[in-house]
């Protein structure tokens, strides 16, 4: 049974249509990369799956339940946003917030919760710096802690929104490997929003490509082709494979920068 079901999903902002008739499913253990230029609704799609944004039309279910009802835990790894240098928070506190930060009250830290936090820290290799103030860690270390925070509550689904942005190559690989390891060990599907498919190309099962007003879903070999992208963009686009990397040439990306997604 699929973990995510999206049927005839549409999203309009005013008279702008970000996408319409969107339809895909996410199976257990699957990694779906969401690609496309800015302003095509990649982040909005995540917000719909998180239950933070109502779609204009269509049906969405996460493990058989509308996202707004929050029946299930969803792990969310955002873009790297540097913490304040002085914020009084350690890595392990950040991870713990992923477990019970939404609950009322002061909360007792039960031994089994402490063990889960420790396990998550160990899983992402952050034990050594788990007790340091988070604002004084490097961006890559902070992002590992974010992954631990997303994994600690045993989510049914992991959503990652450009989690590799402003990370160096070694840390990019580290974050991708962590998410990949969890989906293989626990079968947790991952929806991975990125503007660059290459860091995840070796592990991605399918690609959802959102172009302005049109979309396509399929394996990388089906979607990341000159023919498909030319059809999506309505203009000549070339997809080249160079040394195992995908290079897309000729997309009119620049015209779509600074549109809707920057408004959130």
């Amino acid at each position: 049974m699929s973990v995510v079901t999206v049927e005839d999903l549409a999203l309009h902002f005013g008279d702008r249509t970000l996408f319409a008739g969107l339809r895909f499913e996410l199976e257990p253990g699957e990694l779906l990369a969401v690609l496309g230029p800015n302003g095509t609704g990649k982040t909005s799609l995540l917000r719909i799956l998180l239950g933070l944004l109502a779609p204009s039309a269509g049906r969405v279910e996460v493990a058989g339940c509308p996202p707004r009802e929050r029946c299930h835990r969803i792990g969310y790894v955002p873009q790297q946003r540097v913490f304040d240098r002085d914020v009084a928070l350690r890595g392990r506190d950040l991870v713990r917030l992923g477990l019970d930060g939404h609950r009322w009250g002061f909360g007792r830290f039960r031994p089994e919760d402490r063990a889960r936090v420790d396990d998550s820290l160990a899983e992402v290799g952050a034990t050594a710096y788990a007790d340091a103030p988070i604002g004084r860690l490097s961006g890559g270390e902070q992002q590992r802690l974010r992954v631990a925070q997303a994994l600690v509550a045993d989510p049914v689904l992991i959503l990652a929104d450009e989690p590799l942005l402003s990370l160096d190559l070694a840390h990019q690989r580290g974050v991708v490997d962590l998410l990949d390891a969890r989906r293989q060990s626990a079968g947790t599907p991952v929806l991975f929003v990125t503007h660059d498919v290459n860091p995840v190309l070796h592990t991605v099962d399918r690609v959802l490509y959102l172009a302005p007003g049109r979309w396509a879903v399929g394996t990388p070999d089906e979607v990341l082709t000159s023919a498909t992208l030319t059809r999506l963009y309505g203009t000549d686009v070339d997809v080249l494979r160079v040394r195992g990397r995908v290079v897309v040439v000729g997309t009119p990306d620049d015209q779509h920068v600074h549109h809707v997604e920057n408004g959130h």
């Binding site: 998180l50 239950g51 933070l52 929050r70 969803i74 969310y76 955002p78 946003r81 913490f83 304040d84 002085d86 914020v87 009084a88 928070l89 350690r90 506190d93 950040l94 917030l97 992923g98 019970d100 930060g101 939404h102 609950r103 009322w104 009250g105 002061f106 909360g107 050594a128 710096y129 788990a130 007790d131 340091a132 103030p133 988070i134 004084r136 860690l137 270390e141 974010r146 925070q149």
Partner: protein
Amino acid sequence: MFTQLLAEHFVHTALWAGAVAAVVTGTIGVFVVARGMSFAVHALSELGFTGAAGALVIGIDPVLGILGGSLLVGLVLGLLSLRGRERDSAIGAVLAFGLGLGYLFFSLYQAYANQALNLLFGNILGVSGTELRNLAIVGAVVLVGLALLYRPLLFSSVDPEIAAARGVPLRALSVAIFLLLALTTAEAIQVVGVLLVLALVITPAAAAQRLTGRPTLALLLSVGIALVSTEGGILLSLAKPWPTSFFITSLSFAAYVAARIVDWNRGRQSRLISRPPRRTWAVR
């Protein structure tokens, strides 16, 4: 002289009032600092002054005016739930107008000049038994509120994006923290006065977060620094007849400077043994 004063009833009342104010301000301070709301504290306290002035003009208890003024502003700022620069300029605009209004009220009723001075700079040695009781009630409300909201408040303060994704109601929390802050400010005004509220709400928490990365330890340190500042300030002002508020702000500022020196020294030592600073934190 000093020991005689220590036996006086009004001194005991002052010490209790200082303790209540310190616990409440030290606690809410850690959230205020984490959310970058220092400027909002300024606005709330100065518009509390406007409220007090307005209350005197229409002949009601100025404390009600302080409460009304800060709560109104707190509600508006909380509902706007602005971030960063936009919030700064909005607060600046409201604050300037409110101060002007307060000045008008006082120029209309100059007979209250002394009371105005007390509201601006505080008069903790003049707190009455009834005022102490009211302080304790307001303080208890704020502490209970903060205890109930503790985890979502911490979550939304340090990590709003993830907190929202987890279903934490950011706007409701923003309104709640502003209202609790308004109550706290109204309370602290009576102890250290409008212009010195920052000394109790911001400075101890800012010092505490320089000293530790543990949220609960930061809270305890913040309360501790606020307590030492107020109680120490009151005692010092018994020994030397300078304004109590001066001693309170001096002590809390000294704690802040000391915390920065400790933090700087820690960073320097870890650089001297040529490791990245975070490693020494990890060993600690």
